[in-house]
């Protein structure tokens, strides 16, 4: 059965660009697919985690003796069961985040864990662990944390990149600055200057599958771990580091992953499961409850920003000054660096300064979330640009086009851009009927653009040709959005066989070479390129084997449409299937592996336009139309590219309108569930129209750029700009909840 529907002859491809059914789809629509929480092992125990009820507290003592004596309880672990924190500061932070040591640093921070025969027994045992806390004052946002009088969370935190280095510790982990030209001169040249302050709240990745881990630790001191993650090799590295083990003692098997968006590039449960299993001598499964996911796994930063931008009346931006402070959660490491590098990257700028601060607060340690940092800085910058464009009387697309970067321009973060497709995304929006659709009363249109680097990093792929003429493509990149389909398509294109003859597999840490996490929009690019290269080795091998049969040199053989044939046409072509059948006598197994630290990353740009209506009496927003145009380089499986674009937009709309962490005065999260942490539901959204712009990345065999992340960069500002247009007021604090919008309508003039 050939499933290719719309092959792409214009581009000379048979499979790339078509939309076959994904190979893992059948398991997923029939309930067969095994996610992290679905694994059952004989004798398996259930784990549960005791978490701090306090945002900031000294752990005076922990007494687990009563819990250990309770029925069904097989093991209990606390900080004492893990090595004293060691290694690099960032590694120590992970060790302390997985299991609190001297202090609990946020509500939800792990204090202890229990494994028991049943969930109820494990829960009951948590209640029997006696913890004495000395509650400390807490700081919950950058303003509080940066105040001179603020309680200092880490008494050894000296702000980095400040000259001279401060003598006293503070909650500011580091400062980062990018600059160029002369700000004063730039603003002096401006005819129009707009300056605004913005705030955003922490938001969660909101994957529907809670974190889950199963560990089976055997008496030889080795452990097999099943986990739902964006990268099981990284989970092995991190988990062994927390345990103080050699990584080779861990075998990590990837389960299907129920969404990650960056939040499953880090570890929480795995070391706990391994140690509980080791102490109990039995397998242990731990699955977070939804409230634990919110309280203790990584949101992305809340932030405060100041953005000042000047432009001439002809629309040329003359200067931009951006100040940002990002909440890192309880440990250093907010994405303020990436936010700084992306903030102004889409625009040609001579005079600019971007200053960012990484600030610790008593909230969960932030984790990556889709283009980490970029949506936040883009929110501020693109909102101000919208006002500047209005003041100089330009259409927002024309204004951006006038200032847009193209190949050879220097990015504000330093290097020059290679081939990019930013202007093409702007043009695609301008050419789309949505952009000129009529708007009614209380309706507004907002435009915003965004940039993300995309990543390469390390990937390995092995391709095995089976004797029935099919191919198994083995990688170590967990598939979170359909990447197995993309791997199969590229392999089918290279080998010239039907895509249904390709079986893509995500293998465990002992079965395939190293792969970095599925993140940074890198898998189709980097793992995909490894698959392509491995297939090319296979094709060379197959040509050589065919040449042997014809007694000619291998370079006299060409590979056409899945067949080897002599260039001179002297012999009939021989198919891959026929060559595969004879593998034994033509040189043994047909297999190739390709590993690389990928090069040739193609940057991504997106431009989006949002139409919405504001109810002036209640402040409620209804999104009417949404259009996104994104440069994908080349879409390998267009349906899943569209899916990435649409998913990023939906998350961004949620971030803009309703999502936020709400903490009470005690630093306790008040909305740790999907009832009050309001991610968009189906009836909140319109169809999300997409335009896949294809400006191929010349450094990738198929022109791929990577599509996963940049789609979430523009929506915050696109929505905010549309609200500003509809309500005739600019609201600079997210989320744009009905309460906030109505307050602005009733109480502010703008």
């Amino acid at each position: 059965m050939a499933l290719a529907e719309d092959t792409n002859p214009m581009q000379g491809f048979k499979w790339v660009g078509s939309r076959p059914i994904r190979p893992d789809g059948f398991d997923k629509v029939t309930g067969r697919a095994k996610f992290g929480a679905d694994l059952v092992l004989p004798g398996m125990l259930t784990g549960a985690v005791l978490r701090s009820p306090h945002a900031h507290a000294e752990i005076v003592s922990i007494d687990t003796s009563d819990a250990e004596a309770m029925p069904g309880v097989k093991s209990v672990v606390t900080g004492a069961d893990f090595p004293e924190p060691y290694g690099k500061p960032a590694e120590q932070d992970v060790q302390r985040n997985v299991m609190a040591r001297e202090k609990a640093l946020y509500e939800g921070h792990v204090i202890a864990a229990v494994a028991a025969l049943t969930r109820e027994q494990a829960r009951a045992a948590l209640g029997a662990i006696k913890v004495t806390y000395k509650v400390l004052p807490h700081v919950m946002n950058v303003t509080e944390a940066m105040a001179d009088s603020a309680v200092v969370i880490h008494d050894n935190m000296i702000t980095k990149n400040v000259d001279p280095a401060p003598e006293a510790p503070s909650n500011v982990a580091s400062r980062t600055v990018f600059d160029g030209g002369e700000l004063d001169k730039g603003f002096a040249e401006a005819d129009v200057v707009v300056e605004r302050e913005f705030t955003t709240k922490p938001v969660h990745q909101g994957y529907i599958e809670p974190h889950a881990a199963v560990a089976d630790t055997t008496p030889d001191g080795r452990s097999t771990v099943w986990c739902s993650s964006q990268g099981h090799f990284a989970m092995r590295t991190y988990t062994s580091n927390v345990l103080g083990w050699d990584a080779s003692r861990l075998k990590v098997i990837p389960a299907e992953i129920g969404g990650g968006f960056g939040g499953k590039t880090v570890i929480y449960l795995e070391p706990l499961a391994v140690r509980l299993s080791q102490k109990a001598g039995r397998p242990v499964r731990i699955v977070m409850d939804r409230d634990e996911v919110f309280r203790a796994s990584g949101p992305t930063s809340g932030a405060s920003l100041r953005v000042k931008i000047g432009a001439k009346n002809d629309g040329t931006i003359t200067a931009a000054d951006v100040w940002m402070a990002f909440e890192a959660g309880a440990f250093a490491g907010s994405p303020v660096g990436a936010a700084s590098m992306t903030a102004l990257a889409p625009y040609k700028l001579e005079n600019f300064k971007i200053e960012g601060f990484d600030v610790v607060v008593n909230k969960p340690k932030v984790a990556a979330y889709r283009a980490p940092g970029a949506p936040i800085s883009s929110f501020g910058v693109e909102s101000v640009l919208d006002e500047v464009a209005t003041k100089v009387g330009m259409d927002p697309i024309d204004f951006r086009m006038h200032n847009a970067v193209e190949q050879g321009d220097t990015a504000t973060y330093g290097p020059k851009f290679p081939v990019i497709g930013f202007k093409e995304t702007l043009q695609a929006i301008k050419d789309h009927p949505n952009y000129t659709a009529e708007l009614g009363p209380n309706q507004g249109r907002g435009v915003a653009s965004g940039f993300w680097f995309n990543a390469g990093m390390n990937s390995t792929a092995t391709v095995n040709i089976n004797d029935d003429g099919t191919a198994t493509v083995v990688t170590g990149s967990p598939d979170i959005g359909g990447s197995r389909a993309s791997m199969a398509l590229m392999a089918a294109e290279e080998l010239g066989i039907d895509v249904v003859s390709i079986k893509p597999v995500v293998a465990d840490t002992e079965t395939v070479g190293f792969n970095d996490v599925t993140g940074g929009s890198r898998v189709t690019l980097a793992t995909g390129a490894a698959v392509v290269e491995a297939c090319r080795i296979i094709v060379a091998d197959l040509k050589a084997r065919a040449a042997k049969g014809w007694d000619i040199e291998a370079d006299q053989v060409e590979w056409v449409d899945g067949r080897a044939q002599p260039i001179d046409g002297s012999q009939p072509a021989v198919s891959l299937a026929e060559l595969a059948k004879n593998w034994g006598r033509t040189g043994g197994p047909i297999s190739a592996t390709y590993s690389h630290n990928a090069r040739g990353v193609g940057a991504a740009f997106s431009t989006q336009v949002c139409d919405l209506e504001v109810d002036p009496d209640t402040g409620r927003v209804t999104v009417l139309r949404y259009l996104t145009a994104q440069d994908a380089g080349r879409a390998i499986h267009p349906s899943y590219v569209e899916g990435q674009l649409q998913g990023g937009v939906a998350q961004g709309i949620g971030w803009a309108l309703n999502e936020e962490y709400i903490h009470n005065d005690d630093g306790v999260m008040e909305n740790p569930g999907f009832l009050d942490y309001r991610i968009p539901v189906a009836s909140d959204l319109p169809m999300i129209d997409t335009v896949i712009v294809e400006v191929p990345n010349p450094a990738h065999p198929y022109g791929v750029r990577g599509v996963g992340e940049v789609g979430i960069v523009p929506p915050l500002a696109a929505v905010a700009n549309a609200v500003a247009a509809a309500a005739d007021r600019r609201i600079t604090d997210l989320p744009l909840s009905p309460v906030r919008i109505l307050d602005a309508i009733l109480n502010s003039e703008d």
Binding site: I21, T30, R290, V649
Partner: protein, 158 residues
């Protein structure tokens, strides 16, 4: 005695399982019956990943006590297809790329079936509201809605 004996018709088969009075149907289906296609996303009825039909009515299994299933008919995602013949919804989800990570898919399929059972020709708005109890974080819903529309059209023709 520490367990309750429950007999249900699950996906067309008579199934007996043991449970406790205060265990949710979700936990019983997953842990006792082994139907792990019924997913847990929240445990509070807010995400729809555990959607099942209980006596032909759409339910979040996490909000049902397991003993309530005694004598009841239950349909889970595992019972949607007819042998190796996929339900039109399953086929349309596959062809329309209406899933990315797939964790919400079983719940969406069951909820969509409940909708089409009652309303074979729903509007886009009706589909969106009928599926508002099912959260998807990957797709932005666009392709899910289209897949349900496609399945409805196919089933109307059939």
């Amino acid at each position: 005695m520490t367990k309750i004996h429950v007999t249900s018709e699950i996906n067309g088969d008579e199934v007996e399982f043991l449970t406790e009075p205060n265990v949710s149907l979700l936990n019983a289906l997953r842990d006792e019956v082994g139907l792990t296609g019924v997913k847990e996303g929240c445990g509070t009825g807010d995400c729809g990943a555990c959607s099942v039909l209980l006596n032909d009515e759409l339910n979040a299994a996490c909000l049902v006590f397991a003993p309530e299933a005694d004598g009841a008919e239950i349909l889970t995602v595992e019972g949607l297809s007819d042998g190796d013949h996929l339900h039109p919804l399953q086929q349309c989800f596959l062809e329309g790329a209406a899933l990315q990570c797939g964790i919400c898919t079983p719940g969406f399929l069951v909820a969509a079936k409940a909708l089409l059972d009652k309303n074979p020709d729903p509007t886009e708005t009706e589909i969106r509201y009928a599926l508002a109890g099912n959260l998807c974080r990957c797709t932005g819903y666009d392709k899910i809605i289209r897949a349900v529309q496609d399945a409805a059209a196919q089933m109307q023709e059939a």
